[in-house]
């Protein structure tokens, strides 16, 4: 009898123990590794253009968005809330440039081509603004929804489907939605597209005059100040540090299609015959002239060269058949020497923009990410070491196939620069991202 009682007791105890253990569930206090210092990371928001959105290879798609620099930075902050982005299923929207999956990716014949397929927004029903408010294609004036001469905000909105995808009907502008989010920490990177259009069109499209940029930027920063959030500002890279500008010329030289002649200090079309190589003419805003050391063939000229090699357009060996102005970013000439050029103008504009951004950061005590210097350094070094391999600042490595937007690893670099700036300015201790553990995410067709 005594044992029976004992047994009954033990079984009861066991049951009670089981139930209480079950109900204690999981998650005791877990101490986090990162320290926010003086900043508050409880609600993080990012404002920007395609770079902020995580746009890659001419499209906005899920697997690239996952590794957008704001998403990577937010990840290091161990947010309590989710960092929501307007995720679009693969292959995304924009006509993604993809490799052919049936040919090895390293094969030179495997050149990226745009897909005709489209993805769908996956979380369009989120009932609050996205934390990532980056909209591909936006200019600085879009942040506050300001009209510009010849291009009202509503016109700009209507001509760009990404406004609808990101903003939906939760607020007219990025600024409105930023307010609604009540952010405690803001990443702000705008201004690239205000000069990029000029650069990628070979100087045929206008840029935002620096004095207008200054006014717009100051007003925009006021909108961030109103949120009382801490912030990180990003400046604009040198135009020659993006592959869209420097890559094609280098590639054609490497392929032996063009060559630089030391004696005449000009580029020549390599014919491979005994006769001297003919010169290459480029059209500029003033007149056609021989292509020199500071002149860049834009990535958009690759189609032109393919046609020329196929004999569909006459070679640019005479001023009459010069490479069209919109495919070339001409630089300062060496003979006769002149400082005036599209390249010099673009660099000058970028410098003035960056001065505005730098003083905005110091006026408000915001962190500044000096993308201009960092990109310049990477180009000078020839790349970045990632897990023992050097990744160069070219399409398919640190840049995606469109030559403008960073790859996953490129975003990792921007994220680490951001983390460094936050740690320095706000005395935080966020952990760096190990670039080698980020998947490449190379767009590939079936």
């Amino acid at each position: 009898m005594k044992f029976r009682k004992l047994l009954t007791h033990s079984i009861l105890t066991l049951l009670i123990a089981s139930v209480s253990l079950y109900s204690c569930k999981d998650f005791n206090d877990v101490s986090f590794e990162s320290d926010s210092g003086e900043a508050d990371f409880s609600t993080v928001a990012a404002v920007g253009n395609s770079l902020t959105a995580g746009f890659q290879s001419s499209a906005l798609f899920e697997t690239a968005q996952r590794y957008s620099y704001p998403s990577l930075v937010a990840g290091q902050m161990e947010l309590v809330q989710e960092f929501e982005q307007p995720i679009i299923s693969n292959p995304g929207i924009g006509g993604r440039l993809e490799l052919d999956g049936s040919i090895p990716p390293a094969d030179p014949a495997n050149t990226p081509t745009p897909t005709e397929e489209e993805g769908q927004p996956l979380n369009a029903d989120l009932d609050r603004p996205y934390n990532n408010l980056g909209i591909p294609g936006t200019i600085l004036a879009d942040f506050l929804g300001q009209d510009l001469p010849g291009a009202s905000y509503s016109d700009r909105q209507q001509s760009n489907p990404f406004f609808e995808i990101v903003l939906r009907d939760l607020g007219e502008t990025q600024a409105e939605q930023l307010q609604a989010l009540e952010p405690t920490f803001v990443l702000f990177w705008l201004g690239n597209n205000d000069i990029l259009g000029y650069v990628t069109s070979g100087g045929t499209q206008p840029y935002l005059p620096p004095e207008d940029f200054q006014n717009l930027y100051r007003t925009s920063i006021q909108a961030i100040v109103q949120t009382e959030a801490d912030a990180v500002l990003y400046n604009i890279p040198d135009v020659t540090s993006i592959p869209y500008v420097f890559f094609l010329r280098a590639q054609l030289e490497q392929q032996g299609a063009i060559t630089f002649d030391e004696t005449t200090q000009t580029y020549q079309l390599a014919t491979g015959e005994d006769s001297p190589n003919p010169p290459i003419y480029i059209e500029t805003s003033t007149a056609a002239r021989r292509m020199q050391q500071n002149d860049f063939l834009l990535l958009s000229a690759s189609g032109y060269f393919a046609q020329m090699q196929a004999g569909e357009v006459p070679p640019p060996v005479t001023p009459d058949n010069a490479i069209p102005n919109n495919l070339v970013l001409d630089g300062p000439t060496i003979s006769p020497p002149t400082g005036e050029s599209e390249l010099a103008r673009a660099n000058g504009v970028v410098q003035q923009y960056n001065n505005v951004i730098a003083s905005a950061a110091s006026d408000h005590g915001y962190a500044l990410v000096d993308i201009h210097t960092a990109y310049g350094q990477i180009v000078e070094d020839g790349g970045v070491s990632v897990g023992g391999e050097t990744m160069r600042p070219v399409p398919g490595e640190l840049f995606s196939f469109d030559g403008v937007h960073p790859s996953n690893q490129g975003h990792g670099i921007v994220a680490n620069l951001t983390i460094e700036a936050i740690n320095n300015t706000y005395d935080a201790s966020l952990t760096d991202i190990n670039l080698s553990s980020i998947p490449r995410g190379i767009p590939t067709s079936n």
Binding site: S10, D26, G101, P104, T431, S436, I442, P443
Partner: protein, 422 residues
């Protein structure tokens, strides 16, 4: 590409259960479940074929027992921590898909002559599975992982002649892995394609062979000592690899793959004490030779250009581990024919933190059980038991895959069966 190889290499981490030492399952009998497997010196049930083959020799007539355990594990992951570096960190909570596993067992014995009994057992000593949402944060680590095995074990037990030192029984069985299946999938994000999930589905190629031996020694009527050893069993699996929409130039669409899994050896030292006429108590120490699972190699039937090889090796680095099981049985409680059982056990995980990943969120755990049998007729008894497992919360900041976070697991295991004697 190096990262790619590493990710795929991890895929074939065969693992599965979240509820037992590594991926072993020792819930091999409903009666033993009631005492949490503290059964290797118990010997008075036909499932001793699994727990200690020496126990067979005491069983007269024809004995049959069959039943099934439902294993209902629940795991969560919270994280990833910022030190996970490439994963978008957060303290979000992810729940493993709720799966319930049906684990059957069957045992039969026949007494050939006094002191010599033969029997056969069918049970599933390794297996189970984990499944996470295909879009969860750890999708490149694991989506689905499962392993199933069915073992068949013909066995004999023999009682040695009386040397005047008490009863000595011995037994031995042939352990045959007769059926097996492994299944696993995970995402490969090195290429942005619609279907970026790699999966492998393999079947057991041919039966794997091992053995078990056992010894029971009864110095007095009150005390029984048991010792049993199970050898490791080598199992070879092969099947088809599916690379989804990943570039076919690197991942051939018609590749086959396979692996060899060494299912570990173990030994048990047990002592059973008949405390009173009705109460017996048992304590078992169980040792597991998990260090044999140091590396997992996948062999493909052709070169996979993405790996530059037809072979992928992945370090697992398991440690040997142990368990302590304590159980008790009280017979004829309240009414004749009603037996009550209870048990408690501690199980040391063989999985080192640096090799931990969501394919197997294993950790040290406590197990609690209760069981009951009722003798309906002279020939038929019904057995039922319940086990609750609570794994210790495991905070991982060290794993080499860089996927750091907090794992929590618990499991409920109800079981039901019958025991017959003719």
């Amino acid at each position: 590409m190096r990262k790619l190889i590493a990710t795929i290499g991890l895929v074939f981490v065969c693992s599965a259960s979240a509820y037992s030492s590594g991926f072993s399952i020792y819930e091999a009998s409903i009666r033993a479940n009631g005492m949490l497997g503290a059964f290797s010196a118990y010997a008075d049930h036909v499932s001793t074929i699994y727990y200690n083959p020496a126990g067979l020799s005491g069983l007269d007539g024809i004995r049959v027992s069959t039943g099934a355990t439902i294993i209902a594990p629940r795991s969560t992951f919270r994280g990833p921590f910022a030190s996970s570096s490439s994963y978008p960190g957060s303290d979000q909570r992810y729940e493993m898909a709720e799966q319930n596993f049906f684990v059957p067992n069957f045992y039969a014995s026949y007494e050939i002559e006094d002191g010599l009994t033969a029997g056969i057992g069918v049970y599933a000593p390794f297996g189970l599975g984990t499944r996470w949402d295909s879009n969860w944060v750890g999708r490149t680590e694991a989506i689905e992982t499962s392993i199933e095995t069915i073992f068949v074990q013909p066995t004999v037990g023999y009682q040695l002649p009386d040397f005047g030192i008490g009863d000595v029984k011995i037994g031995a069985g042939l352990v045959i892995a007769a059926y097996g299946n492994v299944n696993l999938s995970r995402a490969v994000e090195d290429f942005a394609v619609e279907e970026d999930i790699f999966s492998l589905d393999g079947e057991l190629d041919k039966p794997g062979i091992g053995y078990n031996v056992g010894l029971l020694y009864e110095p007095t009527e009150m005390v029984r000592l048991g010792f049993t050893y199970r050898s490791k069993v080598e199992t070879e699996f092969s099947g088809d690899a599916d690379f989804g929409d990943l570039p076919s130039a690197l991942f051939p669409s018609d590749a086959g793959g396979g692996t060899t899994l060494e299912l570990p050896a173990n030994w048990v030292a047990a002592v059973n004490v008949q405390a009173t006429e009705n109460l017996s108590l048992e304590a078992d120490y169980v040792w597991w030779g998990w260090s044999s699972y140091d590396e997992l190699v996948i062999e493909f039937d052709k070169t996979i250009p993405a790996f530059g090889s037809d072979r992928l090796a992945n370090e697992r680095g398991y440690d040997n581990s142990w368990q302590i099981r304590v159980g008790g049985e009280y017979t004829d409680a309240w009414t004749r024919g009603l037996s009550l059982r209870a048990g408690i056990a501690f199980d040391r995980s063989p999985l080192p933190t640096e090799h931990m990943d969501p394919t197997l969120p294993d950790s040290d755990r406590w197990l609690f059980s209760g069981g009951v049998s009722y003798q309906l007729t002279d020939y038929l008894a019904v057995d039922a038991s319940y086990i609750f497992i609570r794994s210790e919360e495991r905070i991982n900041r060290e794993s080499v895959n860089g996927f750091h976070g907090v794992y929590n697991t618990h499991a409920n295991l109800p079981s039901l069966g019958v025991t017959m004697k003719f």
